[in-house]
Symmetry: C2
Subunit: 216 residues, 2 copies
């Protein structure tokens, strides 16, 4: 049975999944890159950039696993880009260049309709204006028996969590304090929603990889 | 130089340091004991209970370290006991029996004055009604060149953190989701206060022991 999953999602020790003031110069918010330092060093990430090199090990294994078996992605509009409000034109096609690392349909939640944007390598950005349930329905249809990954950002994951729709989360608790930003879990009663701790694995760069799962 | 420290303080993955509805039957709040499961299994804890047995290892080493070199404790009134408001009498002498595990003066923050309570083994509960700064001053005078430990609870640690007075924290991130309760860090900008990640160590029972320190 296809699952809705969050994988490889980094948060700080104080629980923030992104820094303040996201924008063109700060896609992850101020100091947000500290959350992903471990990921940037992996072979998986380097390959996504078209580079060779990068480190193998626990971090890399989980990074690779996070990309495997995914038949569709869902992301919030702020993860897709820095533009807020109506689309001024069709120029913006994501942060990821001509060939994004998704290689599947990517359903982008937005209040502003836009024509689908096919990219090299099988990624197609499709814009959904009817909310998270419709996006999930469309993603399921596209993914078949493969899983659907909610890429982020924080606000999008929070919406799916609150609706109890996410089956499994792999959070990477990174060795930093952001102090401020977008908090992943504040005000969400994960326990009441049926989530439970499954396991944790220590990565090479002081990251605690934590798996949470919703009880069936 | 004597330091003000928090040690061995357990929080859930979602950041709660105590459950809801603390009281006589639930000193740690509902489901709060899940936070301390790792600690209950240590040799150090078993010895504090006057028992033999318990496990050795990383968890036990840190538990033992958390009790070493401390010259005075500070705790909030709700950690001292379940009574709220004025003291009805002098009957309540803490949760810890005739010989509490502190063996030093313990400064209890309260709005309601009360005579000091000497206990067996060197612990003396002293009640401070003039706030956290006065309690710290008195604790420093009592501790000499040894460290002062803020035992808890959450509200007390938050007060000292916000005042930037805590030098070092050892948090034990326990493998559970509480969902609700007292959140340790919400609304506190640890980074702006000068705190930084120092290191983390994996315990035997899936606890991530995290050390945070204030920059000098």
């Amino acid at each position: 049975m296809a699952k809705l999953v969050v994988r490889n999602f980094s948060i700080s020790i104080d629980g923030f999944g992104a820094g303040l003031n996201q924008g063109l110069d700060n896609p992850l918010g101020v100091r947000g890159p500290e959350l992903f330092d471990w990921f940037f060093h992996t072979r998986t990430f380097q390959q996504m950039q078209g580079d060779t090199g990068g480190e193998r090990g626990v971090d890399d294994d989980l990074a690779a696993l996070s990309m495997a078996g995914i038949g569709a992605w869902i992301m919030g509009r702020n993860m897709f880009g820095p533009i807020r409000g109506p689309w001024p034109d069709d120029q913006w096609k994501g942060w990821w260049g001509d060939e994004p690392p998704y290689h599947t349909p990517v359903f982008v939640l937005t209040h502003h309709a836009r024509k689908a944007v096919p990219m090299a390598g099988g990624t197609e950005f499709r814009f959904v204006t009817d909310g998270i349930h419709v996006a999930l329905q469309q993603a399921k249809a596209a993914a078949g028996d493969r899983d659907i990954r909610v890429g982020g950002g924080v606000a999008t994951i929070r919406q799916y969590l609150r609706a109890g729709l996410i089956d499994e989360l792999h959070l990477a608790v990174a060795p930093t304090l952001l102090g401020a930003g977008e908090h992943l879990l504040h005000g969400i009663d994960m326990r009441a929603l049926g989530y439970a701790y499954v396991k944790h694995t220590a990565g090479e760069r002081a990251v605690a990889h934590v798996i949470l799962r919703k009880r069936a």
